[in-house]
């Protein structure tokens, strides 16, 4: 406990510095929420392995760090940024450096009527009521220490609102670039996504680091999918190998809305991904897909919770992992089907390939079903590459290395192929192929 006291005090200290720097903004309406979250933070303890939700996710490496909120002098030019942006993407682009919005590096033009794209910081300044009506309302910060911490420090992020009946052909691409230069900084990227009735659009979140600094990203995305909206979310996580990436996504689905999420996760020392979706009305549909590739001592954790609160909703969930060296994977998939949520269809799959003897995955489905007329299924596999398939390839003249690459690639491909934006799909394909080739050639 003593150990944790130190980091806790440093966060408390940081909060006071942060508050002072806010100046006039600390009188803004949202600051009450921050203070409330901060109060919660001080009252909560960091979890340890005795906590069921953190049983296999050892966060000691995070807690042994001290993070700062000092600004890092980052000189990134428009030319520099091109290196980090997805190649060939045609999108509304929001660039954040160390958590702060950069209008200079962003590309926001020809924004159609009915679409709002803002920096949260800008809008908090003038107490934007649309923002305040929703921000912090879905990701409950009262019980979860990381959510309370992130909310307390909330300062900037993307606010995207697509009005009723508006279809945005262009995706919204949010690049969170960290340029920590070996300063152990903490950032709290915060996104609020509001999809109006019958709206349709795609959000891309991309986390990248310029170097291999140690830092702490504690990000929250809240999504509200109004009636009959279709929202596609893609996230590519390529944080520094020494970074801590804690992410929470909270999705509220209204009647007949459709939400899809694709997560491609390669980076971070520890990455914890909480994906929560809640059906607030009938006819909703959600699909959560993900692929993680980890090696060395990386830890990847996905905790999902699908709350079937209403009847006639469908949820699909499929996470796949490729684990090498002494990496650790954690999958925990909770599906809650409430008493009156009849005619629910809920499917869950988690498949993992272990490339080394030391790699470990803990996978746990958690179905809590209180309705009787439902279809739910779950399954998990952990294994090596299919021997039969490998022999088949070899019998065609394909060697061990190429056969392994082909089979791993095939394993990953269905997650990649579900990504609908070509520029993202191609990029995901590229980084995954590169990683697979490296792993196989090294082993």
């Amino acid at each position: 406990m003593d150990k944790n006291k130190k980091i806790k005090e440093s966060f408390i200290n940081n909060f006071h510095i942060f508050e002072n720097k806010l100046n006039g903004e600390s009188k803004g309406d949202f600051h009450k929420t921050r203070n409330d979250a901060f109060k919660n933070f001080t009252n909560l303890d960091f979890p340890n392995s005795k906590n069921e939700e953190w049983k296999y996710t050892n966060i000691a490496p995070l807690l042994s760090q001290i993070f700062s909120i000092d600004k890092v002098d980052s000189k990134i030019s428009k030319d520099d940024i091109k290196k980090y942006l997805l190649e060939g993407i045609d999108a509304h682009i929001l660039v954040f450096i160390n958590g702060d919005f950069s209008s200079e590096l962003s590309l926001l033009k020809d924004i159609n009527k009915g679409i709002r794209i803002d920096s949260i910081k800008d809008k908090l300044k003038n107490n934007d009521s649309e923002l305040l009506n929703h921000l912090g309302k879905y990701a409950d910060y009262r019980k979860d220490i990381f959510t309370s911490l992130s909310t307390a420090f909330t300062n900037d992020g993307a606010f995207i609102k697509v009005d009723d009946n508006i279809i945005s052909e262009k995706p919204f691409y949010i690049l969170y670039l960290t340029n920590a230069q070996n300063n152990s900084i903490q950032t709290q990227p915060r996104n609020l996504i509001l999809g109006g009735k019958n709206s349709q659009f795609t959000i891309i979140e991309h986390f990248v680091s310029i170097d291999d600094s140690t830092y702490f990203t504690n990000t929250i995305t809240e999504v509200l999918a109004e009636e009959n909206s279709v929202i596609d979310h893609i996230k590519i996580q390529e944080e520094s190998r020494n970074a801590f990436h804690f992410a929470r996504m909270e999705v509220e689905l209204e009647r007949n809305s459709n939400f899809t999420s694709h997560l491609i996760s390669l980076g971070g020392k520890i990455s914890r991904n909480e994906m929560n979706a809640k059906f607030n009305n009938e006819g909703g549909e959600s699909m959560l897909n993900g692929l993680f590739l980890i090696e060395d001592d990386q830890l990847f954790d996905v905790h999902s919770k699908i709350d079937h609160a209403k009847p006639h909703c469908n949820s699909h969930e499929h996470y796949k992992g490729i684990l090498d060296d002494a990496s650790r994977g954690v999958f925990n998939g909770k599906i809650m089907v409430r008493k009156d949520a009849q005619k629910t269809n809920a499917f869950q799959q988690n498949n993992n390939i272990l490339l080394s003897k030391e790699a470990l995955i803990n996978t746990k489905p958690q179905l809590e079903i209180f309705a009787d007329d439902v279809k739910c299924s779950h399954g998990a596999t952990i294994g090596q590459l299919d021997k039969e398939a490998k022999f088949y390839l070899k019998s065609r003249g394909i060697g061990e290395e190429a056969a392994n690459i082909i089979l791993l690639h095939a394993f990953a491909s269905d997650v990649i192929n579900l990504i609908k934006v070509d520029a993202v799909k191609n990029y995901a394909e590229e980084i995954i192929t590169k990683r697979i080739n490296e792993r196989i050639k090294e082993n």
Binding site: D386, E388, A389, F391, Y392, L393, K394, S395, R396, G397, I398, G399, E400, A402, A403, I406, L407, H409, A410, F411, A412, S413, D414
Partner: protein
Amino acid sequence: MLLEVKNLHAKVEGKEILKGINLQVNKGEVHAIMGPNGSGKSTLAQVLAGREEYEVTKGEVIYNGKNLLELAPEDRAREGVFLAFQYPIEIPGVSNTNLLKTAMNEIRKYRGQEELDAMEFLTLLKEKMEIVELDQSLISRSVNEGFSGGEKKKNEIFQMAVLDPMLSILDETDSGLDIDALRIVANGVNKLKSDKNATIVVTHYQRLLNYIVPDFVHVLYKGKIVKSGKKDLALKLEEKGYDWLKVEDLQVVG
């Protein structure tokens, strides 16, 4: 001589399946290996292709002047050995084209040849597809995934056509095929036959041999070749059944 199998013994999971196989195959020949279920036909095919689960305990196999048993499965394929699987494996996420392109290039690399460019490769695929009347859409689909039984077998012969092996081993390629598919598959095999290659047809039924006419027929029984002959041996087997063999076998032993 292309292939010479000498006194081959093999076991799987501790059980001896092949108990001294002798077989000689020359270029330009078609050999049929027949026998009842459990006689060791498929084991022989798998051992020749290099399946690791089978342990060779005795004997040797000389293929094209090389000790075949010392070669890894992929190297056997690169040396020109091809096994058409009895149960072709489904590989989701790997397209037929990708498999063949990788195989082709790995084989060419092994032989010190340059890789085929995309154009040459596609032309080759098209040409070979016709041999087995394979539907164009199947080549971009995942290997064997969701294929019908007939499509799977056609796909095996298509792969064989593309890879152009010196020794083809067809393991029960006729099983589960309707008469039309059987005719197409057999025609494919016949078209690929030349005086530079050889084919071993492993089958339970004589039916296939009406279409692929063998030069020699061998009867495998309890892990040994108990009878060899010409085409008419197959007909005799068809007529009298394998029970006839058992009687003869007893007589031989007795």
